[in-house]
Each structure stands twice: as C-alpha cells, then as structure tokens.
C-alpha cells in the first residue's frame, strides 16, 4: 500500500522557527514480538499531528521513540535533523511529554511537580516560577488548594491536567501527549483541547497526540496517522481519513473497520451514559 508521508503545507500552520520531526524506517521489537514495523513519516513544524490506532498497535512506543526514551532496533527519528537519543538535542530543543498515566512524581506536591523543570534548571526566580505555576494551574481549572496536594490525593483527571500544566510551563517546542483527554469529563476535555491550541498558538509548538478519541482527533488534528498492528496504515488530513470511512475500496477495509468499530463503540457508550 502506498502511504503518503509528505507534508501538506496548505493544511498546516507555517512556522519557519518550528521543529520538524522525521521518522524513517522505524522498527522495534520486544522479546521477539515486533511492535513497530518500518514506520516512516514526517511532521511539519508547528503541526498538530494525531496518531490513532487500537490498543496495542504501538502508539505509545512510537511516542517514546520520538522523545528518545526508547532506542529503535533499526531506522531513526530526527528532530530538526538531530537524534532524540543525543543529549545535545535536549539542550537545544525543549521537548515535553504528557504520559498516559501522567508520570507525576509522587514525592512532590502539585506545585513542585509543575515547577520542577523551571526550578531544577534554575531558569527563573522562585517568585516568578510560583506565579507562572499558579497561572498555568488556573488555566486548567486547578485551584490554589489543589497546588498543595500530592498526586496520590488527586483523581485521574486532575493528575492528567497537572501533567499537561507541567508540560506547558516548560514552554517546549515539541509536546507529545499520550491520551490527553482520557479520564476527563467532556467539559474538562474541552478545556484541555483549548489549552493545547493556546499553547500551540503562543509557542508555535509541534504537537503530537496519541488518542482513541475520534472526535478529538478530527477536531484538533492538522493530520492524522492511523497505526494498525505496528504498521502505518494511513496518513492524511481529517477530511481524507473521514473519506476512507465511506470508501468501497478493498485496500481501505482495515482502516474502515477500525474507524467504524471505534465509532460504534463510542455511540454505544454515549447511549449507555
């Protein structure tokens, strides 16, 4: 199958200072089981790129490769031409990741978690850091009282919002979000989507989102990649991906199946609720 991995500049915001991500022939296996199979694509500077796929299709592993937490078996990831495995990249380009389980440090309070990057690297005076953290928490509907709490005192949704706040205060040029709206009610999910957009508008961030949420993907994405069983099934604009749903072409059957099943489950869930 031919997959169009080229960039559609007309659909994405132009930002010459943004960060481009290039993935070339990425393969990864765990204990002999292939998880990523020859993945290649490119992400435009300042683009919101959404990766969708069923559970176990390798989305989180792909995200971990993009930030250099995992070393590929073969192939490479390049962030503005540099490997995320090199220390020099992280000194030149700030990257942040919002983990599926939030990844908050349990020994630190919410405020300490959110300010961790700024305080550890001593980027700003203490009072200014406190001010920035307070503003960011309020953007995500977290109160001053919440700032003093520890992660084990928070609900899943609150943890997720703290993790997003922690990523955004870093003012990163690349942000990776792993299921940013999971465990959030629709209102909070909307707040998070607005925050992702606000951060992108302010900082020209390149954002990569992994999500199961079809509506979120179609709403926020500049382009969507569909990952099925470790292989890149399709990349396209939301309109192009939507069009596959109605396709009668045999080649589109797996993708159509994924999108339809995903949509039906969502319908059943909303009926039940």
């Amino acid at each position: 199958m031919n997959i169009d991995t080229t960039l559609n500049h007309a659909d994405t915001p132009s930002n010459t200072e943004g960060v481009a991500i290039s993935v070339r022939g990425l393969c990864k296996s765990f204990d002999g089981t292939p998880v990523l199979k020859d993945i290649s694509f490119e992400i435009n500077p300042g683009e919101i790129f959404v990766i969708m796929g069923p559970s176990g299709s390798g989305k989180t592993v792909l995200l971990s490769h993009l930030i250099g937490l995992v070393e590929p078996d073969s192939g490479e990831v390049l962030i503005n031409g540099m490997s995320p495995l090199s220390d020099s990249l992280h000194e030149k380009i700030r990257m942040a990741m919002v983990f599926q389980n939030s990844g908050l440090l349990n020994s630190l309070s919410v405020e300490e978690n959110v300010s961790l990057y700024l305080s550890e690297h001593r980027l700003k005076p203490r009072d200014e850091i406190r001010q920035i953290v307070s503003e960011q928490l309020s953007h995500l509907n977290l109160s001053r009282a919440d700032a003093a709490k520890y992660p084990y005192e928070l609900s899943g949704g609150m943890k997720k919002r703290v993790a997003i706040a922690r990523a955004i205060v870093m003012e990163p040029r690349v942000v990776l979000y792993d299921e940013p709206t999971a465990e959030l009610d629709p209102i909070m999910a909307r707040t998070v989507v607005d925050e992702i957009r606000r951060a992108r508008a302010l900082l020209s961030q390149t954002s990569v989102l992994v999500t199961h949420d079809r509506e979120l993907a179609f709403e926020i994405a500049d382009r969507i990649a569909i990952l099925l069983d470790g292989s890149l099934e399709r990349i396209g604009t939301p309109a192009e991906i939507k069009a596959c749903q109605d396709s009668t072409c045999e080649e589109d059957a797996p993708l159509k199946n994924f999108l339809t099943v995903n949509y039906k489950i969502k319908e059943i869930k909303s009926d039940y609720e």
Binding site: S64, I67, L69, E91, M97, F99, G103, L104
Partner: protein, 246 residues
C-alpha cells in the same frame, strides 16, 4: 552478573561525575540524611549496645579465668572499631535504607516518573542517585562512630555487672584507652565509607533496572538486599587484607 557489575561501575562513575552538582542538591541531601538518621538511630543504639554486651559476655569470664582481665576493654574496643560496628551498621543500613531506596526508585521507574524526569532533561543520576549516595556516605560513618561508642558502653555494662567476670570500670576504661587509638577508629570509618558507596550504588542501580510492576519492585528489593550483603562481606575481606598489608 558481569553485565550488572559493569552497569554498577558505570553508574558509580556517573555519580562521581555528578558530585560537582552536590552543592545545588544540598536540600535533597539533607532531607535524605535526616530520613536515614531518623530511621536508623534508635535501632543502631539497641543493636550496638547488645553487640558490645554479647562480646563482653563471651570474653570477660574467659579472660577472668586466665587472669588477664586487663585486656577485656581492648578486645571489645578493637572488635567494635575494626569489624562489628562497620559491618553491623552496614547490614542495618542495607535493611532499612538500601531496601527503601530500591523500592522508591523502582516504583518511580515502573510508574514512568523517571521517564518524566528524562523528558524534562533532568538526569536521574543527578536528581535521584547522587543525593542518596552522598547522604548514605555521610550517614553510615556517623552511625558507625555512634555504634562504636554505644558498643563500648554495652561491653562495659555487661563486663562490670557480670558476676563471673572480675572487671572494674576503671580497668575496662584503661584497657580500652590503651588498646584503641585513632588509627583503629579511622580503619572502621574508612571501611564504612566504602560499604556505604557499595550499598548506595547497588540499591540505586537495582531500582533503576526494575521492570514489571509491584512484583518487579518486590524482586528488586530482595536482590538489592542480598547483593548488598554479599558485596559488604566481600569488600570487608578485601579491605581487611589491604589494611593488614599496609
């Protein structure tokens, strides 16, 4: 095993290289030091008092029988300085602190907290390992010094109160003073610094390589304790050999 040894040595060198950042991590080091002292001091006092007492119980009647009660203080003093205090305090630190370090870092590894640190360009060695190693290298020698003193007191109490031993307070203290000098105390402290380094590095390394959820954390803690005890005993033999050689 050899792969682990290599990884431990690499972690040790990385930690030593991060020592230049120790002044920036003073608060974390002090927090760790306070936790270590708080967790161990009472236990160290009880353990040391009874170790000194047990040695006195074994030695004092024998020496009395042979008419050489004047060496009881010296024997207990040297035993505490050279072997018992460093080794027993190392075991105490392994059980109370080493296992806790492995469990904490292991849990951070399993629940992606260490990944989160890496994504923020914060080195886990600088943020987690180095402060713990520095704290343990300060805490263990201090505990050993404390243990020596309490052990001597335990030995004194049991020697003097034991009916089958004809040891006096003055005789015990004179013997202790003549038999134990600064060099003996320094030997024990030197051993304790090496033990602390080994315990700290093994515990942190085992935490950092933890995989597989709560069961993985449990396995890591067990391995960390067993490996640390083995390392302390092997190092004790090597260090004793070296000290005797020089």
């Amino acid at each position: 095993m050899f792969q682990n040894l290599g990884e431990i040595l690499i972690l040790l060198f990385k930690t030593l290289a991060e020592l230049r950042n120790a002044p920036r991590q003073t608060r974390k080091i002090l927090d760790q030091l306070f936790e270590m002292g708080n967790a161990s001091l009472m236990m160290a006092a009880i353990l040391s008092f009874f170790i000194g007492g047990i040695v006195a119980l074994q030695v004092a009647p024998q020496m009395t029988e042979r008419g050489i009660t004047g060496v009881v203080g010296e024997i207990i003093g040297l035993a505490m300085c050279k072997e018992l205090a460093p080794v027993m305090m190392a075991f105490l630190i392994i059980g109370r602190i080493g296992s806790a370090i492995t469990a904490e870092i292991g849990s951070m590894k399993v629940y992606h907290e260490i990944d989160a640190l890496q994504t923020m360009n914060i080195s886990p060695v600088s943020y987690l390992v180095m402060p713990r190693i520095v704290a343990i290298c300060i805490a263990l020698p201090m505990l050993v010094l404390f243990s020596m003193l309490v052990g001597w007191m335990g030995g004194l109490a049991v020697s003097v109160l034991n009916q089958s031993a004809a040891v006096t307070v003055e005789g015990y203290l004179a013997s202790l003073k003549s038999g134990v000098d600064a060099q003996e105390i320094f030997e024990g402290l030197f051993k304790s610094v090496v033990f602390a380094l080994a315990i700290g590095i093994i515990s942190c390394h085992q935490g950092l390589i933890t995989r597989g959820g709560p069961r993985g954390i449990g396995r890591s803690v067990t391995k960390s304790v067993v490996n640390s005890i083995t390392a302390v005993l092997i190092l004790d033999y090597i260090l004793t050999r070296l000290i005797l050689f020089f």
